[in-house]
Subunit: 384 residues, 4 copies
Amino acid sequence: MKLTKHATPWLGLTLVVVSAVSLEAHPRARTPVRLPDVPGYLTLKCDFHIHTVFSDGSVWPDIRSEEAWREGLDAIAITDHIEYQPHKADLPTQHNRSHEIAKPRGDELRVTVIRGSEITRQMPPGHLNAIFLEDATRLDTTEWRDAVGEAHRQGAFIFWNHPGWRGQQPNGVAKWYEEHTDLVTRGWLHGIEVVNGREYYPEAHAWCLEKNLTMLSNSDVHNPLNLDYDVPAGDHRPLTLVFARENTPGAIREALFDRRTAVYSDHRLVGREVFLRPLFERSIQLRNPEVSLRPKQRVYLQLHNDSDVPFELELADDVPDLSVTRDLTLHAGKTTLLSLQRGAGGDPGEREVAITYRVKNVLVGPYEALKAAVRVKVRFVGAP
Amino acid sequence: MKLTKHATPWLGLTLVVVSAVSLEAHPRARTPVRLPDVPGYLTLKCDFHIHTVFSDGSVWPDIRSEEAWREGLDAIAITDHIEYQPHKADLPTQHNRSHEIAKPRGDELRVTVIRGSEITRQMPPGHLNAIFLEDATRLDTTEWRDAVGEAHRQGAFIFWNHPGWRGQQPNGVAKWYEEHTDLVTRGWLHGIEVVNGREYYPEAHAWCLEKNLTMLSNSDVHNPLNLDYDVPAGDHRPLTLVFARENTPGAIREALFDRRTAVYSDHRLVGREVFLRPLFERSIQLRNPEVSLRPKQRVYLQLHNDSDVPFELELADDVPDLSVTRDLTLHAGKTTLLSLQRGAGGDPGEREVAITYRVKNVLVGPYEALKAAVRVKVRFVGAP
Amino acid sequence: MKLTKHATPWLGLTLVVVSAVSLEAHPRARTPVRLPDVPGYLTLKCDFHIHTVFSDGSVWPDIRSEEAWREGLDAIAITDHIEYQPHKADLPTQHNRSHEIAKPRGDELRVTVIRGSEITRQMPPGHLNAIFLEDATRLDTTEWRDAVGEAHRQGAFIFWNHPGWRGQQPNGVAKWYEEHTDLVTRGWLHGIEVVNGREYYPEAHAWCLEKNLTMLSNSDVHNPLNLDYDVPAGDHRPLTLVFARENTPGAIREALFDRRTAVYSDHRLVGREVFLRPLFERSIQLRNPEVSLRPKQRVYLQLHNDSDVPFELELADDVPDLSVTRDLTLHAGKTTLLSLQRGAGGDPGEREVAITYRVKNVLVGPYEALKAAVRVKVRFVGAP
Amino acid sequence: MKLTKHATPWLGLTLVVVSAVSLEAHPRARTPVRLPDVPGYLTLKCDFHIHTVFSDGSVWPDIRSEEAWREGLDAIAITDHIEYQPHKADLPTQHNRSHEIAKPRGDELRVTVIRGSEITRQMPPGHLNAIFLEDATRLDTTEWRDAVGEAHRQGAFIFWNHPGWRGQQPNGVAKWYEEHTDLVTRGWLHGIEVVNGREYYPEAHAWCLEKNLTMLSNSDVHNPLNLDYDVPAGDHRPLTLVFARENTPGAIREALFDRRTAVYSDHRLVGREVFLRPLFERSIQLRNPEVSLRPKQRVYLQLHNDSDVPFELELADDVPDLSVTRDLTLHAGKTTLLSLQRGAGGDPGEREVAITYRVKNVLVGPYEALKAAVRVKVRFVGAP
């Protein structure tokens, strides 16, 4: 029987009193995802595509809340398949039940658990997640349009899952159908998964920018999370970053409809520049913003990265009179050196120098890296 | 929908062809438990106490086979509670079903999955596991004796679970009742859990030696295993080591009835000396078994430990004419130095020297460490 | 020849252009020691006892600055032995030279490198470190009192090293001699190492409190640091925490003379309560400071520990009407749960509840743990 | 003063006797490099290019023996520069001294320490290492040919270091000069570094094959090793694998002249197929070499990799009637699954099936991967 066990330390050979001796337990603890907030909004870490034993997943629903808490998430949606119920001979279909079971554990741990469902159809339109539902059972319809329409009537936020999934697109290329145009036109489709699990869909990324849709990044996890992600080693599930006014279900829903999201997957960020620029800039602190340089002297700038993302920088533009580090990884949680060397020339005096890098793992467009500058005040001393 | 996804390497900004880009996946791999075989027998790594969603556990049964394979186990028993079925409103009771679901995955991965059940009663007799059952449903009886008798009739191996569990013994002290004497007398009780989860029961250890019962060490896991054990960091679930003629269900059953087991928990070994001595001795290799020493000279013996167990040694007896390391950890998978220093004296000539240690984390009795010797040929050169 | 090498990514089999291919380098980065500042002062991380090849150490002096920078230190003192020069046949004695070599690398990396020496004599008075010297060569005297007097004349801060070192006290018990009383009376002895390397001296801890001396904790490292400390795995060298007005040599010197220090060793803190209390309290944040409880209900408080120290808590006093977690580790960098359960009783209404713990690894006296309270507003709802 | 300290366990608040309390030390232990022997030879792990404070390195020479022992090496050569002596104002030049200091620690730990020197000249011929010298001082000549000739007269094994080093070849492309032809013709040049530190030189790889020279892979380490390689995390220094009849200096020298070596760098192997094929094949064990398959059935082959090298496999040829895993990493020390699925066809009966992969990180030529087959007996059961 499962029960909390009282811990007595294992005292080895010196113990005399005979009683149960407890060995040190693996701690139950929450590890934060270290990412800064952005101006005006909290940066919430969310996963809106999760399965349980109530469709084809492998865990009891409360485990999803426990995993989310331990991994530093703020909100999850449980989104079991409506149409695909492989366990139903043992576990009869109940579309609302996984949410009902997961939510109390979420409440206890202060993780928001959102009611959702995956409308699971042939392509087009493929698989669609509807979250913030009132009653998932009413999505169990014959016609897919009825299901999506019902979700919309319930006020759901609806997004297209893994559009380039090889199960439906054997060449891995996401394809836009007129059904999707129809859904967007009706206001029944609000976002697309740019990342699902370990896959990134560049076309989805472009569509979100072109059609002004919300970008999502979700795990679509079926296994216990730790079988798919080596979390203790720094691996992380894909997250939808939600920029919300506060940490409440309502504020998350508002942010989703308002397209205030970014993709955080495999230590890469994808999204709109308005959010990614402050995410990067607030993560980095230049510890010595003023330096002086004699001719041919080299100094180091110390850049501290307080986030979990190891930013990979590549010099975008040469800097007059200075030779600077061209390729640089700003390691997560560490301080890294940027070398700055004055050449033989350069007029004496003080200058504001901007050293512009492409941040290769921060994408503001498909294959378009964020450009960001390290700004430093350099005093050139001594004649060249 | 769950489906194997084809992997294309993420090529960063250089990608031109637009298609789904896969990120590096967390590997699906099996990590062996490194422990040597003993003379005449294979050392099989087993866990005979495991729950699933079919009683009060949190995972679908096939996950238990997957976890066992990844962690290097050879055999598991799924032992859901007969009498405790908290999920039954959602998942109707089917006592054989968790085994039926877990076994195909075990077959696929070459992990033996044994049919079992936990007979879950008040103390006495407390909770009893019956494994190698034919039909678990017939254990669902009103009287506990009928359930145990039925298990016995089916040929099951039966053991008493967590005898000092504070849910039934609030002071944590295991207590032997006349019901247990009766079960042993009838041949209906064959072993006891000396370790359950993170708890060690020294009384159970003593009873197994006194009453000639089989020692077991099981996880009693309910959660996904990785929520309770930090496996990638070297933490491991408790294992019953079974010394079997071959890796088959029949040979495991035979070994259990023949008491050929040991307890492996939290990098400690508990059991009968006949098995623990070779487990230790075959794990350790002295790399330089012959040394020579001038007066006052120091040399190092190099002890390689090829097992996963960091053996903790404490000198048992002083060695004439030599000063040796008193406290020594033989780190798992590494070579450690044992310092040997000759004093001013010692007659010239060659001697076989035995340096005897207590191996503090290998218990051959409750609080009784294995004594083992490092044997080295020492040539004393030079007059004192 | 040593030279910075330009990095080209290894492109495996796809490379066509033939040129040197660089493999990924181990990063040169600084990992901060996460400890909060205290009111009015910065918390600087320092090591004031370090050797190089210029006495009996094993590294060229500039490596000490590099190691210190990578490990997040703010200041170090190089303190080679005056009297013990085992390398002098190869490397002629030059008492100031190790500081001269280490300092430019420290300047480049913004680590303060202080000139020091270890006056290395028989007990009494044993070994004394003098730091903030002007000229170490003048400490090379016949009489130890002349060396200490000279250090004092140069304005040095002088402390007694490893007073319980078995090289001079075979029983490991530090002993106070009248020579030490004399030194203190003259104002020539200002502090004592409470920790040296892996050793803690409780007597030294008591003497610092009784005699109003500065507590120090230093590595006394001779090897390359990483041979003695497994830094990447979270092991850390012992540090003297200096509570200084600013990060300058002068402010560090002032703080040392003013006894504004604490000992940080093996994830334990030792020192005066005035500094240790805010170090603990500022490390911990209660994420949900207001809760409500019905009879028999349990809630979890979430305690986030933003420091590198895994604080080990033990309940000091029972809490009326509530049952709370008795033993609790606040894991470094993580959020941990504290369980709060209301009994059957308790009058309705709102109360300020203080849950008082002993923080076992924060010592405000020898074997005296800091007592600290978690404060929470609890609303008792519902009649008992 | 440096001295072994006796360890008493830290007993926290329960200690009563006042004495020095020792904290747990970072272990001094040797971690083996797990690579199999090859037919007829031991696989020795060696590094033949290492610096100390006696030229431009940063550690006292005995540290090089200690590092080598801990990292599982069998032999090292200390090869300080003859011509480049930046520390000489402090540490007067003594070309044999670093070997004399390193050797006793090597002897104590059973690591072979070979006397060597780096002849450090402009390109051509660049830098050449001479190892197995009798007296390094005689290499301190004005003309580089005199130095090489003298090394040859002493019986040294001589190799060209880092031929594509950007310090001498700014474009990173190694260039062969007539001086090198001359050296080879005279029998004064026996090998080339194919890897130096983090760099791989594909041209050197080709030249070794074309001109029948010995391939080397060395660290050229100047810093304490752990500052450049994150050894505890699995990073390793580049090694020259020497296939020797026994672990003695003479057998190593013989093997070098006989070109029995391979390059092991960043978990990649480069060398002659005659050695690399058995290195790979003996590392891998197929756990289930006989399987049976019904039409459309899938089974898993279990491939255990007992080495430290994560072999990366890519299918070379399709297999008739079977669909097999195309891309597969055989993780170091783990068992990985290879999926084998029968199509609808295939005649009943038993067949020997060879599944041929390119092992992408085992190079038998520049950019030419080893091809190796997994061989399995497949019984096709049931008509298609």
